[in-house]
């Protein structure tokens, strides 16, 4: 049987040749993502801003405007109605009720009663009601988890490799998270608790690729002590290229299936991870590796010599 080789045996792509261009693009994209997120904001779900969300399945497709009119008729504040997964399923979102938790409960109950009485056979799939206090805690916990994960992983890389690699990992993570945030701001996809889980997975996954490449760079730095840094990075990237492509593809295959036919509720989670994998693959080559050049990684970074070797070019 002839085996599939997506990446030929002896590649010699000069990745580092475009590193300056890539850095300009990455920086611009990161700034654009953050600016866009700051300017337009994220479409936060009830998990993080409080309020209520009711998902309803109808027997047949309905007139959304009519439903909207009926919900508005209940005078519960600014509601929003969105299709969810198909023309017969909708999510009705209500703002945080004024007058505390008892009022929130009443609001959700009134919507449910209205829906089941005006649309025979309609099914209330789920109700989520989160108070302002809980939503603040959830948002805080989510942000803390992401920040701690980024720092924790960077510190681990620093211990396992050298400080330059730790910094490289942190820069890569910041890049990947910013891009994912920008994507969510751009598409207005709802950010809920599941998406935070996706962000954390992206943090872990994005570093997966980087670690594999860093490991190879370290190995080559020890092996080819006289090689200049740029060819050495290129060599490492080419040697790991097949693995990078194959692994990313297997994960993307699994995630694509999940997005296409999996439960609608976790579409956002799957999409965020899918995107994170794509961005993470790019950044492991064009963000985490060039950073090492500027931070002056040399073979000396690993071989602790008592007497410095004068033949080795100093870090530039």
């Amino acid at each position: 049987m002839r085996l599939l080789k997506l990446v030929p045996d002896h590649t010699n792509v000069d990745f580092m040749r475009w590193r300056n261009l890539a850095v300009v693009i990455s920086t611009l994209m990161t700034i654009a993502s953050l600016a866009f997120t700051a300017y337009r904001g994220l479409n936060m779900g009830v998990d993080f801003v409080g309020g209520q969300m009711i998902r309803v399945s109808f027997v047949q497709p309905i007139d959304v405007e009519q439903l909207r009119g009926r919900v508005d008729g209940l005078k519960l504040g600014e509601s929003s109605i969105q299709e969810f997964g198909g023309p017969k399923t909708y999510q009705i979102r209500l703002p945080k009720a004024e007058g505390g938790d008892a009022a929130a409960n009443v609001a959700a109950t009134r919507v449910k009663t209205m829906v089941t009485s005006t649309y025979p056979g309609a099914r209330i799939d789920s109700v989520e009601s989160v108070s302002g206090k809980v939503s603040e805690e959830l948002a805080e916990n989510g942000a803390m988890a992401i920040i701690f994960a980024m720092i924790g992983i960077a510190v681990y890389i620093w211990f396992r490799f050298e400080w330059q690699f730790g910094v490289g990992a942190l820069v890569t993570l910041a890049h990947d998270i910013s891009m994912t945030l920008g994507f969510f701001a751009f598409t207005r996809l709802q950010v809920d608790l599941n998406v935070v889980a996706a962000f954390l997975t992206v943090v872990g996954y994005s570093l997966n690729d980087t670690v594999v490449i860093y490991d190879r760079i370290r190995e080559n730095l020890r092996k080819y002590r006289k090689m200049a840094i740029l060819p050495l990075l290129n060599l490492s990237l080419n040697e790991t290229l097949a693995r990078t492509v194959v692994t990313s593809l297997t994960v993307l295959i699994a995630l694509a299936v999940l997005m296409a036919i999996g439960p609608e509720v976790i579409f956002g989670l799957s999409l965020a991870i899918f995107l994170g994998v794509v961005v993470g693959t790019y950044s492991s080559i064009y963000v985490s590796t060039p950073v090492l050049v500027w931070l002056g990684v040399t073979p000396d970074s690993f071989v602790k010599t008592e007497a410095p070797d004068p033949t080795v070019a100093p870090a530039r």
């Binding site: 085996l3 799939d125 789920s126 954390l200 943090v203 872990g204 670690v211 190879r216 699994a254 509720v265």
Partner: protein, 530 residues
Amino acid sequence: MLDFPRWKVISIWAIVLIGILFSIPSLLPSSARQHWPSFLPHSTISLGLDLAGGSHLLYEADIQDLNKQRLQTMEDTVTSEMGRGDTRIAISDISTSGGRVSFIVTDPTQVDSAVERMRSVTQGVGLTGTRDWDVGVVDLNRVVLTPTKSGIDQSLKDAMSAARDVVRRRIDPGGTKETTVITEGSDRILVQVPGVENPEELKRLIGQTARLEFKLVDLSSDPAQVQAGHAPAGSQILPMADGNGTIALKRRVIVSGDQLENARQGFDQDGRPVVEIKFNADGARRFGRVTQENVNKPFAIILDDKVLSAPNINEPILGGNAQISGGFTVETANELAISLASGKLPVKLNVIEERTVGPDLGADSIHKGVIASLIGTAGVIIFMLVTYGRFGVYANIALIVNGFLILGIMAVFNATLTLPGIAGFVLTIGAAVDANVLINERIREEHRRGRKIIDAIDTGYHEAMRAIYDANVTHVISAALMAYFGSGPVRGFAVVLLIGVVTSVFTAVFFTRMLVALWLRNKRPKTLPI
């Protein structure tokens, strides 16, 4: 590489088989599970509420309400302590405003003994002996009792554990359902009930404080004053439950819900739903005495500070049985009966988070999740097969074993599978082969460099190990933080990821290495099919 001792082979297979054995009960439909031999493991993975359907309710105690109650109780204690014994202490102007209880001792020479009496009843219990209340004197003859921090904390702690028990009795009187009622933090109670048909009913049942009191109606009060909201001394004004005005009542409680023996739903002689209650011996005696002394006067039945009804006492009620009417439906009468029988909530509870999933949506999610997992796995398997041939087959066997091991370990720990957990499962499948990809690519590389077959495989496994180890630690860090900070469904996702990382290292590295070693030993291949 060829040197693979027999004990290693046996232990690896043993782990694999045990893992599969533990995963089977969770995979069997419940009807077939009965035929599963009882000597084999039978713990299963539990389904999260987002898959099984059900309600997740987070309650928070109303601490202000609790503190108010404590002040009122202390006010009653002051009145009874000062009026006790041979030398009564005359007091006036008792108040509970400003979060403390204060009163004036009319005779300045009695101030010291008043303080002494209050100190003796506010002495904290326990080893530390910290006080629940600070007793002090201001303006020469005003005694002030201020609740201490430790007293407030202790009362909250007691109230929360009592409230938890009350909630548990209300939603699951038989103790048979798979409900979760636990306290979280200092002032919260988490309630999880699977398969709820009507969450509104559940919330009404849990949320009702059910503080039942019987008091006499204050007939001496001036109706105009009552309407203006001014109660005579020793009386209070409460609203009627049906919203029809207010009524003045004597403050003293004749009997309360604490003195109930039982409560159940019944019907009165006209066939209207009522709650039938039965007092305990003490309650029956007190109720009998008061009704005897107050024939032809009205008394009020008060539930959570609202007057349900104020019937006339036609004759003394001596048997300890009574009926509560108040425009109930069979349903509401039944709910109230359950609430009363399970005791009153020591503190008011408010819902601060609710997540309810209908059973149909849950079943739909499981169905779609399982199909997606299977097709996703199939996709990965085909991809690995066409990419790595024989070595792909090994990776795929490892992948399938990994799936069983994850389920098996989850079953052993009775872990909860949530909807994001399914995503975690699919993701783990995609990521688990990464170790094999690393190894196989390295073997290809070493072979290209001219190493002999066995040497190339050996070096491949050895060199790939470092990267596999580091990459998995990064996953563990993020998954562990997710498990720590995440709630409910997200934690379920993290748990699957964590287990998946551990099992995938075992299957992708040790298990495939054994398969490869056995193949090399048996076949002695001349070419490397990779």
